[in-house]
Amino acid sequence: MLGYILRRILAVIPVMLLVAVFVFLLLRLTPGDPAAIIAGDMATPAQLERIREAMGLNQPLHIQFVTWLGQLLRGDLGVSLISNTPVASMIADRIGPTFAIAILTILMSVAMAVPMGVLAAWKHRSGADYAVMTFSVLGFSVPVFVIGYIFILIFSLKLGWFPVQGYTPISRGLGAFLSNAFLPALTLSTIYIALIARMTRANMLEVLGEDYIRTARAKGAPERTVLFRHALKNAAVPILTVIGTGFALLIGGVVVTETVFNIPGIGRLTVDAILARDYPVIQAMILLTSFLYVLVNLLIDLSYSFFDPRIRY
């Protein structure tokens, strides 16, 4: 097990190196000029050239890449070209809200989606099943920002239960945190719930048809035990996979949700950096996101053995 974990962690290094090269080249091939953002619209071409020179953007690509890689290996993510702020501190300031919303979203999604999927499978082709499936289709089809606006209209503007926008860190109290974070997390959950509920339902339907379920029922096991101990545990591996792969979906959704609810997270940081061609910030954010994605998948892989003892590493 330990050897497997070490091998997987070592495998992250070439992956990250590839991501680094790819991101660096992709950004330099994309048209755009951070100097133009800094200088503003009135700057003449000569003034732009001087700013590019001062920022080192005129150096040959390979020198820029080696400089950046050297910094990276020393743990230095560089300094934002636009705001002159260290990238590490920008990320540190912004990662908290995104993480908090993402974790709350996953918790809310799993808490709602798994029972919904189990219910839909248990009451197959009933009203409950159709209701869950309808919700799933809607959750998948309606864009996140539309759902966000609808929630704001109903829960914030009409009912006044939650603020329209903003973020309060959990350190200022759970109530204050939830008051700001609940609606964004609920918004972000819809697509995730749709995904997990569908997967849970499909796998539960498959497992509920197995012989050992019939045996458990024949032995007189209570229905709750049949569903949650026998069926759900066996259906868990594909559901976990979906939660892991859905992480990418979550990252995409965070960008939109952070904009609609004005949350100062890393999603908005990334979009702003892309619009301004703030290369060091974009590079750091894509590396970080890729690393998180690899890490989440590793954790999901490791958790398989917990649910299915046949899986050994």
């Binding site: 048209p31 133009a36 009135m42 020179e53 636009i82 300031d93 503007l157 329209v164 004005n262």
Partner: protein
């Protein structure tokens, strides 16, 4: 007895509460603040930030006239020596007094970057601090627009910084944000692109005159101002409706219906002139290397449909052919009848035929991610097609456009023929600072016209003896710029601001400022 005691306790609690209560104005500005150096960039948000924390020697009032702000001035009889005397009580946020040496260092750094500043520096014999309070600026020849340029409010006003900060190279961003303005920048709470916090600077001594645009007393009536960036205007509108913010600097006209009818919210035009939208052509490549074809493009376009598509509601736009803006002292609409009234298409067709236009496609760059620039290219391209141009409308993001417009290559090889941009009217209201009127070829703004006549006319403007003579030259510049197609003005528009009704006494200046205003709790 008990009641009196209770009342006394209650009253004292309330009074204490009042004394401690902090008045905070939360504002959503037109973009997030990222660059903090007002000399290195012409970005409006950085200029607005600079007006919060820095002060200026002299400032423009609502009649576009220079007025004393940090300093009064005298001019020698030969018009060569300007003497500025700093007023008493000027203090930097770190407690140090503002001295003439600080002002001189700041003016020298500004003079390297600003177009108007460069013109003054070219005519400067000496600029020095003759004592702690006196700045003596000696010119080599009289320069009538001197005070207009020093007092301008956009794009690069000469903000005064401590000398140690102003000694930073003009191509590198400053890292010390000590100003002497009415607000203090709270660096610990600054999040680039997200939040900027300002606190009232208690030691600031305002002038006695009432505030008038950027001139007069900058009296601060709130304790704290927070600029919160909300990239989604719908979120900002929701937050204003919900009372979570107090002010939106720029509203999209098509969202006004969401706020109209709400008694707690006021939607209004802050200032009358607003923005100019305009076409720039590339003088280096066919077909616009030909004056007749540039003239044909100008005749083909009518402003009204462009503005209607862009803004929609006529209350917020006006047709205006003045390259230096309508409603400004130098604004003249000479030569723009077809632009403002239409009817130039036949003339455009005739000009194209006469010029022998061979159907070379016109590459028109269309930024699709900028709301304020997305519609004009579509309407303009249609107008050009109707006159007989072949138009290659190329959609792209704004970042791609700003990179590509710097390319002097042929349009087919990554260059361009036309793009459209917008200016704040005060920054194009003077021929010295208007970037479109730079005719120095490769050193000119993108489009690179070589136009000796416009340079000559600008010299005449500089040498003009008084305001009337300046106006006459400005009219000549207008006629020439339109004839040569240095730009095609597409009209003026205003994006209204929205505020909670409790925010009152806002100054109606083109630059949004937060002194003078009151907030009712």
């Amino acid at each position: 007895m008990f009641n009196r005691l209770t009342a006394t306790l209650l009253a004292s609690t309330m009074l204490a509460g009042t004394a401690w209560a902090e008045t905070t104005v939360k504002a959503v500005m037109h973009s997030g603040l990222r660059v903090l150096d007002p000399v290195i960039t012409t970005a409006h948000i950085t200029r607005n930030h600079a007006y919060m924390i820095y002060d200026v020697l002299i400032a423009q009032d609502s009649q576009y006239q220079p007025q004393p702000q940090m300093a009064d001035w005298t001019v020698s009889d030969d018009q060569l020596t300007y003497t500025f005397t700093l007023r008493d009580g000027l203090t930097f946020h770190d407690g140090a007094p503002v001295t003439a040496a600080d002002a001189v260092a700041s003016l020298k750094r500004w003079g390297q970057k600003d177009a108007g500043g460069q013109v003054i520096m070219d005519r400067t014999a000496s600029l020095e601090a003759t004592d702690d309070k006196t700045i003596t600026w000696t010119l080599t020849e009289p320069f009538v627009p001197m005070l207009d340029i020093l007092s301008k409010q956009s794009a690069l006003p000469p903000f005064i910084m401590p000398a140690r900060v102003a000694e930073t190279s003009a191509d590198e961003a400053i890292t010390d944000y000590t100003g002497s303005g009415p607000f203090r920048f709270v660096e610990a709470e600054f999040q680039p692109g997200l939040t900027v916090v300002y606190e009232k600077f208690d030691e600031y001594v305002p002038r006695d005159e009432p505030a008038d645009w950027m001139a007069g007393g900058k009296v601060v009536n709130v304790d704290r101002v927070e600029w919160v960036n909300m990239p989604d205007i719908q979120t900002a509108v929701n937050a204003l409706s919900g009372g979570e913010i107090d002010y939106i600097e720029q509203m999209q006209v098509d969202l006004l219906a969401l706020l109209e009818g709400d008694p707690n919210i006021v939607v209004e035009k802050r200032e009358p002139t607003g923005m100019q939208t305009m076409v720039r052509m590339n003088f280096l490549h066919p077909p616009f290397d030909n004056q007749q074809i540039r003239q044909a493009a100008l005749k083909a376009i009518q402003q009204e449909p462009v503005l209607a598509a862009m803004v929609g509601n006529p209350e917020y736009y006006q047709v205006c052919g003045a390259i230096m803006g309508c409603g400004t002292p130098l604004g003249s609409e000479v030569g723009t009848e077809t632009l403002t009234q239409g009817g130039g298409v036949d003339e455009a067709k005739a000009l194209l035929q006469e010029a022998g236009y061979d159907g070379t496609p016109v590459v028109l760059m269309a930024p699709t991610d900028m709301v304020a620039l997305a519609t004009q290219p579509v309407v303009v391209s249609q107008a050009l097609r109707e006159a007989g141009f072949q138009v290659d409308l190329q959609p792209m993001d704004w970042q791609t456009l700003v990179t590509r417009r710097a390319s002097q290559a042929a349009p087919a090889e990554g260059g361009w023929n036309i793009f459209i941009t917008n200016w704040m009217v005060p920054e194009i209201s003077n021929p010295i600072s208007n970037p479109m009127l730079n005719g120095r070829g490769d050193d000119a703004w993108f489009g690179w016209p070589t136009d000796e006549r416009v340079e000559e006319l600008k010299e005449n403007f500089i040498d003009a003896a008084d305001a009337n003579a300046q106006k006459a030259v400005a009219e000549e510049i207008q006629a020439h710029a339109i004839d040569n197609g240095l730009l095609i003005p597409l009209g003026q528009y205003t994006l209204p601001q929205a505020r909670r009704a409790g925010i009152t006494d806002m100054i109606n200046s083109p630059v949004p400022v937060f002194w003078n205003l009151q907030k009712a709790e």
